[in-house]
């Protein structure tokens, strides 16, 4: 941080600003941003327009020990997401009742659609204390922002039903020993859809274990809009996840994984929700009575803009299949945004969805 000495006040009335722009931005941020937005065409301090996003860059598969990984850079915000899979044995789950039956045979009717949530099979965590910004230094427990981001991501993961419960189950089909005398072969295999004969004494498939996905998100650099970047990294990493083929070995009584890449499978995800955050910047800092005051809705804010606004709107949209679905709307603080502005924000979000889903789906 260099010390700045500003030149003595000039007697020349024609002289322009005696401070460089950065000093002006630090000394009086609100008028600085207002001065950028007021003229027509209005631009923000970072020379974007009010509805212009930063260009995202996504990189997959760079981490060796993670089943799936993504590095997302949106402007100066850089996020690394690593997904590791671990095995949770069904016998380790307290109060677990053994679930049997073929997939889709009515498990959902038995009320297990909340399986991933009840068993905590998806564990996202957002770590901000990595020195990504001067406010987030390590050595502290997660503060309000980190905890609230983790919770929002957790609830969006489950409410969007992006991962089907079946993807995380590990079935075991006990061999049919009734025909032992005839062919004497003992096959230990996982489910095969071919021999689905309904014999009464054929032992049923059962779920022996589950995959638990630990989703760890680390912020390398933070310049505003952490939620969008974190969600984009999760989505991209989930697309990248490759789970090895896991099976129950009855002799050793444990779950083993096969290391052949051909047998491993990628997760099939439902939909592609994209999060878009905006802030509202008001012309008057303090509310001075009622009256028409100017305001601007700025999408994809950076740290400077976030510090000046107290009203924030986040929408999560999914336009797969041509129809726009809203998976979440969150509005915090302020009284400016009404139905008209909301419609505008959703329109902008649809545009962003096209860009992000093309990038994520490769």
């Amino acid at each position: 941080m260099s010390t700045l000495t500003h030149p003595p006040p000039s007697t020349n009335p024609q002289s322009s600003l005696s401070f460089p722009r950065e000093t002006f931005a630090k000394l009086s941020p609100h008028p600085y941003l207002l001065a950028h937005l007021t003229p027509n065409p209005s631009k923000r301090a970072n020379s974007r327009t009010a509805t212009q996003f930063r260009i995202p860059h996504i990189n997959n598969g760079s981490l060796t020990h993670a089943e799936g990984s993504a590095v997302v850079r949106i402007g100066d915000t850089t996020v690394v997401c690593g997904i590791r899979g671990e095995i949770l044995l069904a016998s380790d789950v307290p109060n677990y009742r053994v679930t049997t039956g073929a997939p889709g045979s009515g498990l959902e009717e038995r009320g297990v659609e909340e399986e991933a949530r009840e068993l905590d099979l998806l564990v996202p965590n957002i770590e901000l204390s990595t020195g990504c910004s001067p406010q987030f230094l390590p050595g502290q427990a997660p503060g309000t922002l980190a905890q609230s981001l983790s919770t929002r991501v957790y609830s969006l993961l489950h409410s969007s039903r992006i991962i089907d419960n079946e993807e995380l189950r590990i079935w075991y089909e006990p061999p049919d020993l009734s025909g032992m005398g005839k062919n004497g072969e003992d096959e230990i295999m996982e489910d095969s859809d071919d021999d689905e004969e309904d014999e009464e004494d054929k032992p049923e498939r059962e779920i022996k274990a589950f995959w638990t996905l630990y989703i760890d998100i680390l912020f390398i650099s933070l310049d505003g809009n952490p939620f969008d970047a974190a969600w984009a990294s999760i989505l991209s990493a989930l697309h990248d996840v490759r789970l090895p083929h896991a099976y129950w070995d009855p002799d050793r009584e444990m779950v083993l994984c096969s290391d052949s890449v051909s047998k491993s499978k990628k997760l099939s995800l439902r939909g592609c929700p994209v999060a878009v955050s905006t802030v509202v910047f008001r012309a008057k800092e303090k509310r001075v009575g009622k009256g028409e005051e100017k305001y601007w809705v700025l999408v994809d804010p950076d740290t400077f803009e976030e510090g000046l606004c107290d009203e924030c709107v986040t929408v999560v949209v999914d336009c797969t299949g041509g129809k726009t679905k809203m998976l979440g709307i969150e509005k915090v603080g302020g009284t400016v945004v009404g139905r008209g502005e909301m419609r505008g924000i959703v329109g902008v979000a649809e545009e962003r969805w096209k860009e992000m889903s093309a990038l994520i789906n490769g």
Partner: protein
């Protein structure tokens, strides 16, 4: 242990997936250990870049490539590959100390080193454990002598390192519970050497005055087990623990080439010294010299990266 501020996994506890090739008894089924293809005095290619975190005073990113198994061309599954080294470092400061802190006539250096949860084969938690504190202390020792602290009284500087991918202590194929002897933490040596180099780049990026640019280098005495006879141990620079069957000793130094000084030296393992007339085995002095050579190699990459940074910064002015 449930951490109430984080989202916890299943309360029953989960286990790392065990691969069937771990348990294979037939030696033909076990994939081969990666072997060292470089000559013993050649370092790995290093990628170093500064300025990855614009909001911090200074930052840097270091990446060392992973060793590839020459026999397999197909991409392996996550848990069976050997990892490289990926570190990021951010420097915040010099900042004023809080008012409650006692007066200090020189700058106070604080270091934090943290493994990301996905950095190693076994998932690490979010709370700092002893090995991370150990690395932090060594890093502080290495950097303390380099910064000209008297220019900033009553100030503090924080050096924060996040390890995105860390070296492993041994090849996973050796780890299968066959030996009850766990490997000593050889992976930490390469990690520390990388930490010193990347911290040095970030401090230079932050514009903090230093007497010289400190670089980290690591060397090891390894023994490759090929059958019955025990071959003579060899000295290698920049060892990858998973490439060697047995590491006898390893040494890491933080070295200042301009002044020919060592700021930090850490040796692990069994090693004799020059006065011992044991033939064939390396001595402590040789090991330290080799580590200094490795540090010189890192220094070259460091200086090239810093030159680029200086060009960018001055070009901007």
């Amino acid at each position: 242990m449930t951490d109430r501020r984080r989202i916890n996994g299943p309360s029953g506890g989960t286990s790392t997936p065990i691969y069937s090739s771990y348990l294979a008894k037939d030696p033909k089924e076990i994939p081969e250990r990666p072997t060292r293809t470089r000559p013993p005095n050649v370092l790995r290619k290093m990628f170093l870049k500064t300025g990855v975190t614009p909001s911090a005073s200074g930052s840097a990113y270091l990446e060392l490539e992973a060793s590839k198994n020459p026999n397999s061309t197909a991409p392996g599954l996550a848990s069976l590959s050997t990892s490289g080294l990926k570190l990021t470092c951010t420097v915040h400061g010099p900042r004023p100390l809080p008012k409650s802190a006692p007066f200090s006539p020189h700058i106070i250096l604080t270091t934090h080193v943290k493994y990301a949860p996905f950095a190693t084969r076994k998932r690490r938690g979010y709370l700092r454990d002893n090995s991370e504190r150990d690395l932090g202390v060594h890093l502080e020792t290495a950097l303390r002598g380099v910064i000209i602290g008297d220019r900033w009284p009553k100030s503090g500087v924080e050096v924060i390192i996040t390890i995105l991918e860390g070296e492993e202590d041994q090849w996973w194929g050796d780890d299968i519970g066959r030996g009850a002897i766990g490997a000593a933490e050889w992976g930490m040596m390469s990690v520390l050497s990388g930490c010193i180099t990347v911290a040095s780049a970030a401090i230079a990026d932050a514009g903090i005055d230093c007497v010289d640019v400190v670089a980290g280098g690591v060397a090891a005495v390894v023994r490759s087990g090929n059958g019955g006879k025990a071959p003579a141990p060899a000295l290698v620079l920049d060892p990858i623990p998973s490439e060697h069957k047995e590491i006898v000793a390893a040494c890491i130094v933080g070295y200042l080439p301009g002044r020919d000084e060592i700021t930090d030296l850490w040796v692990k393992g069994e090693i004799g010294h020059d006065n011992d007339a044991s033939s064939g085995s390396a001595s402590y002095e040789e090991l330290a010299d080799n580590a200094v050579q490795a540090a010189l190699g890192s220094h070259r990459v460091l200086v090239a990266a810093l030159k680029e940074t200086a060009d960018v910064k001055l070009g901007r002015l």
